[in-house]
């Protein structure tokens, strides 16, 4: 019994240290988004292990991406391409580049690869083609959504998701929502607010489009160095087409009259679309 005592003591010591380390890991883990990603498991045996262990994550992520890109160029290994591209995302989840290109590759390309694998566009029925293309677009959107969360709501990634929702899924409401989030994010692309309003408008939610665009212009766009005159012109067209009474419209800006193509608005004759602007809403 006495001989076992030191071993018991050592065991207790290590358990105590383990409890301490457990508490420490719970806190440290929050700062390690790369940790615990299931996407890495199938690729660990393919040189990704070093990245999982610690250093050289970006280098390993770059090489993993290149390998995925090579497969993407060959266009015949859908599973391999997606696996490696997702592994690159998982190795460096803060990188917009990986998420954006993986999302686009899955949403835009892989449906076509699958159709070709099944015999080509002439052989696969149109309904099946649509089903496949839509399915892969949805998968791409899931990836982009994951990337948006991982990058803390990157504006360019939101704009990419909006584009996929609009062009591949033909879902204007969803696209408008992404554009709206992109417009409200840090380093928003100049077109995001206009496209958000335009897609809501095209979906028939005209009043909602105007109200949001107007509020955004007053809160954000108006404060830009040039006052965002193109957006104001778009808002004026919307006011015109919604036949808003003058008092409900945005007050005329002091610099607005000097803008090229300025048309003074009245309550009269608002049935025809405005001759200027409004192209993105058509």
């Amino acid at each position: 019994m006495r001989r076992a005592l030191p071993w018991v003591g050592l065991f207790a010591l290590f358990l105590a240290v383990g409890v301490l380390a457990d508490q420490s890991w719970r806190r440290a883990r929050l700062a390690l988004p790369e940790i615990g990603r299931r996407e890495l498991e199938p690729t660990v045996g393919q040189g990704v292990l070093l990245g999982v262990l610690g250093g050289f994550r970006t280098v390993v992520a770059d090489f993993t991406w290149i390998r995925g890109y090579v497969l993407w160029e060959r266009k015949n290994d859908r599973a391999g391409t997606e696996l490696l591209m997702r592994a690159a995302c998982a190795l460096d989840p803060r990188s917009r580049f990986f998420w954006e290109n993986t999302g686009l590759a899955v949403a835009n390309d892989m449906g076509h690869w699958e159709i070709r694998r099944r015999g080509g566009y002439a052989k696969v029925p149109k309904e099946i083609q649509d089903h496949l293309l839509r399915g892969y677009a949805q998968r791409g959107m899931v990836l982009l959504d994951e990337g948006i969360v991982s990058t803390g709501g990157d504006a360019a990634l939101l704009a990419t998701a909006a584009l996929v929702a609009e062009l591949q899924l033909k879902d204007l409401g969803r696209s408008a929502d992404y554009y709206r989030r992109a417009a409200e994010a840090r380093a928003a692309p100049w077109f995001a607010a206009r496209f958000a309003a335009a897609n809501l408008w095209k979906e028939g939610r005209r009043r909602e489009a105007y109200v949001w665009y107007r509020a955004h212009w007053l809160k954000v766009l108006r404060l830009a160095e040039d006052g965002s005159p193109d957006d104001l012109k778009e808002l004026r067209d919307m006011e015109h087409e919604l036949r808003l009474p003058l008092l409900q419209r945005l007050p005329q800006q002091s610099w607005e009259v000097s803008q090229p193509g300025f048309v003074p608005r009245t309550n009269e004759g608002v049935t025809a679309p405005s001759p200027v602007g409004g192209q993105s809403r058509k």
Partner: protein, 277 residues
């Protein structure tokens, strides 16, 4: 107590001098430094990351990889050199306890690794500082937000890595104290480091409620007996996104690192006392 410390420090000094003269140390040291310096030249091959992240990652990789190799190999080599050359017998015949001998060995090797970490971190800080200043200038010209780079965070990360290497050295000393050959100590030490780096996997599993009964108990034991070395890899967060590290995280990580060092040194002493030289 004072005399014991004095004797340990004397052993540490000898170990430090012995280690720093090793060609193996010089080779990995130069390789690590070259890697950090070369990161500036190869950054054009990067895509998908910010430039600073790419540069920082080269430094973090060098510290992690070469530091771990040095920690495992040098510790086993210096320990078995004393045993094989019979100098340990002479030393331990003097009024020097085995605990003091091990403490001295640990401090000497840890000090050498401190030099390694310090120089690599300084080179990395110079590279990051230089490039961050250039990028900040460019950002001002383009009216963009300058990239985030916290050199104080790098100093904290370097000290975390030094502590991680301390855990590795203490762990390998415990293995070497029980091992009969240098090769066995290196292989088992390297495997222990690998297991430590991947220990979080079992911790993740433990957090899932699906695991019950015997499996849960085995996982719990595993997570509490193996050191979690992944918790020291906070480089990205500390240097490039300091707001991601929540308050109170670092003291816990430092505390658990020191606790592991002490626990492994106690284990090493216990095993070494039972060993016939």
């Amino acid at each position: 107590m004072k005399a014991a410390c004095h004797r340990s420090l004397w052993i540490a000094r000898i170990t430090f001098l012995e280690a720093i003269r090793q060609r193996f140390f010089a080779f990995l040291f130069i390789l690590g430094a070259a890697l950090v310096l070369a990161s500036g030249a190869v950054r054009v091959f990067d895509f998908g990351h910010s430039e600073l992240k790419f540069l920082a990652d080269f430094g973090f990789g060098g510290l992690f990889l070469f530091g771990s190799i040095l920690g495992v190999v040098m510790t086993a080599q210096l320990f078995f050199a004393e045993i094989d050359n019979r100098t340990a017998l002479t030393l331990l015949a003097k009024p020097l306890s085995r605990a003091e001998f091990l403490a001295g060995k640990f401090l000497g090797i840890w000090a050498v690794l401190g030099v390694f970490v310090l120089v690599l971190a300084a080179l990395l800080a110079a590279m990051l500082g230089w490039r961050a200043a250039e990028l900040a200038q460019l950002a001002v010209e383009r009216r963009l937000a300058p990239p985030e780079c916290d050199l104080a965070g790098l100093a904290l990360y370097a000290s975390l890595q030094w502590l991680r290497l301390g855990v590795i050295v203490a762990m390998v000393l415990a293995v070497a104290a029980a091992a009969r050959t240098f090769l066995f100590a290196v292989v088992v030490g390297a495997l222990a480091v690998l297991a430590g780096q991947l220990q979080w996997l079992s911790q993740e599993l433990l957090l899932k409620p699906a695991e019950t009964g015997l499996g849960h108990a085995a996982l719990w034991l595993l997570t509490h007996l193996l050191p979690n070395l992944q918790q020291f890899n906070l480089g990205d967060a500390l240097v490039l996104a300091p707001h991601q590290v929540t308050a109170g995280t670092l003291p816990w990580v430092f505390l658990s690192g020191v606790a592991y060092v002490v626990a492994f040194l106690v284990l090493a002493t216990f095993l070494f006392r039972r060993r016939e030289i």
